[in-house]
């Protein structure tokens, strides 16, 4: 998903869920910041680089695709953007163990990991809630793709058709992909940019939904295609419906986080709460536009009575940089970093427990005498034990 949903829509959802405007802004900021918190940024502010929740395009180009490099990439993308749907899924018929482990990383909605993600944010403040909402939203947009570079999982081909509305009838158009990252997507002509085909299994071009371009992130898109892992099975993706589910589930999740005795459960979507604005929200999702920030902004004003300021990546940077080492974790960025580390550790641990080394060794394994993320120990375990 893009800034329009992660920032503006999350703000609306938080306000509807009963959070104050101030907290809702923080939740929304943190939800969007998951797409900005790179190693480069953390290095610049003197934060722990292992808390990175995304990678810049340049970082990905330079990324090492050796075993350790791939584990690093998978840890980031699977933890925050492509939360695995079922780590114990049966493979599609006979398959190798290597394929099965990648197959199990395929992102899907309403998973056990999603419950763990939301529960991990309980009683941790708006920063952790923001990260959880980003992960939740992305499970709907990025379904059927995996957060690890894999040709056999993430590849798509010429069989890609967009379902468009022309007047009062639906027509199907074959999607044309081009590889020039500078050209803009043309939704009117079903022409989109995607990553180039690379025959190597572990190429960065085969990470996530790169081969499908930005289509999963456009709320208006309805399309059918054949994923590589599907054995010639066809998948229909209805983004307006999925995004509506994501929005309603976010409201339910945020409400449950506000309730001290609450417990997040999958399969619940708070449709009642959006009833006064349902038609407006539906129209925002349906309009064929690459970014819906303005519409969400207007809706935010309508719901909360005040306008959400434009996203500023450096909003809390000064607070973090100027704080002394012991009080950094009590700043907004500090709490975000701690929550990000906890989320990464939790997902890595679950992936490892399922028998897969695709995300490497988790923090818990330290107690069995193996090396782990040093920053994680320093920031989470040692400081936690001091407290």
């Amino acid at each position: 998903m893009q800034i329009d949903f992660h920032y503006y829509a999350t703000y609306c959802a938080a306000v509807i869920a009963g959070y104050s405007c101030r907290d809702s802004e923080k939740i929304a900021w943190c939800a969007q910041f998951v797409d900005r918190c790179t190693k480069t940024f953390l290095d610049r502010i003197g934060g722990p680089v292992s808390a990175a929740t995304t990678q810049l395009q340049l970082e990905m180009m330079e990324a090492d695709t050796s075993l350790l490099g791939l584990q690093e990439i998978t840890r980031i993308w699977a933890s925050f953007h492509f939360l695995p749907g079922d780590l114990y899924a049966q493979g599609p018929g006979k398959c190798s163990r290597r394929f099965l482990h990648k197959y199990r990383l395929i992102c899907n909605t309403d998973s056990e990991l999603l419950v763990d993600t939301v529960e991990l944010a309980r009683a941790k403040g708006p920063e952790a809630a923001g990260i959880a909402m980003h992960v939740l939203a992305d499970t709907w947009a990025h379904r059927y793709f995996a957060g690890t570079p894999s040709l056999v999982i993430n590849n798509t081909g010429y069989y890609f058709y967009e379902i468009m509305r022309e007047g009062d009838r639906e027509v199907e158009k074959a999607v044309k992909f081009n590889h020039n990252p500078v050209t803009k997507d043309r939704p009117d002509r079903a022409v989109y940019t995607n990553t180039m085909y690379q025959g190597t299994e572990r190429s960065m071009m085969n990470l996530g939904h790169g081969r499908a371009g930005h289509l999963p992130d456009y709320s208006y898109a309805r399309y059918r295609y054949m994923p590589s892992w599907g054995g010639y099975m066809e998948i229909m993706k209805d983004n307006p419906l999925d995004y509506m589910h994501a929005f309603c589930q976010m409201i339910y999740a945020l409400k449950s986080l506000r309730d001290p005795d609450g417990r997040f459960e999958t399969g619940h979507y708070d449709r009642e709460a959006i009833r006064p604005w349902e038609e407006t929200i539906r129209q925002i999702f349906e309009v064929r536009r690459l970014l819906d920030s303005e519409d969400w902004k207007k809706l935010g004003v309508e719901i909360s009575g005040r306008a959400l300021e434009d996203f500023d990546e450096e909003k809390y940077e000064k607070e973090y940089v100027e704080a002394d080492q012991d009080s950094r974790d009590d700043t907004v960025l500090g709490r975000f970093i701690m929550a990000a580390l906890a989320q990464k550790s939790m997902v890595t641990s679950r992936i490892f427990s399922s028998g897969s080394l695709l995300a490497g060794y988790p923090a818990d394994y330290r107690f069995n005498g193996l090396k782990d993320i040093r920053d994680f120990f320093k920031n989470l375990i040692d400081k936690g034990s001091k407290k």
């Binding site: 059918r224 010639y232 066809e234 229909m236």
Partner: protein, 196 residues
């Protein structure tokens, strides 16, 4: 809106096969053309030796360069035709696989190419095997001087390529037939459901 019945999955698999093999057919066409043109350009001395040694083909009044140029022109023309035929068959297969309208002529042409390819593969294999002096030296040192010094003796690689091409064309043929059958069945089912 999605149809994931067994028939539909098989149909899509056949379409995908046809597209992939179609690209392969085009590439084999270009390879063949490049191979024969390259053979003349890189083995000029051997070519001239063969021509000069032949009573019918050798013309004492014509220079070596002219002979090579004439031969190159003839081979280029012939290979262009071969490559174009491969292109036609390949493109038709790709179009058929992608669900676009195409002329069905490529199917019998594919069958013809299978027969030619089979004959070529058999011929190449037998000539290759008979040209090998299977003594210990060859087996231990992979001595292929005999093959390199001959124009007509095929290399092991070209035998493999010919066999591969034959298998590809067979796949293409059966995939094309299957796709047309499925489409006929789907149309029939559609008509029956509309009238019913």
């Amino acid at each position: 809106m999605v149809d994931n019945t067994r028939e539909q999955i098989r149909y899509r698999k056949s379409c995908s096969t046809l597209v992939r093999v179609g690209y392969g057919t085009i590439m084999i066409g270009w390879w063949r053309a490049a191979r024969y043109i390259g053979l003349i350009l890189l083995k000029k001395s051997l070519v001239l030796q063969q021509i000069r040694g032949n009573d019918v083909l050798s013309y004492p009044g014509i220079s070596d360069t002219r002979i090579i140029l004439i031969l190159l022109a003839l081979v280029t023309a012939l290979m262009s035709f071969v490559a174009l035929m491969h292109l036609f068959i390949g493109l038709s297969a790709i179009r058929e696989g992608m669900g676009k309208k195409t002329i069905g002529l490529y199917i019998p042409l594919t069958l013809l190419m299978i027969i030619i390819s089979f004959a070529r593969a058999l011929n190449k294999l037998s000539v290759f095997l008979s040209s090998l002096d299977l003594n210990d030296d060859v087996l231990l040192n992979l001595n292929v001087d005999i093959i390199n010094n001959s124009l007509v003796t095929p290399t092991f690689a070209s035998v493999i390529i010919e066999l591969t091409f034959m298998i590809m064309l067979t796949e293409q043929f059966f995939a094309a037939v299957r796709i047309r059958w499925y489409r006929r069945q789907m149309k029939k089912n559609q008509t029956e459901s509309q009238s019913g």
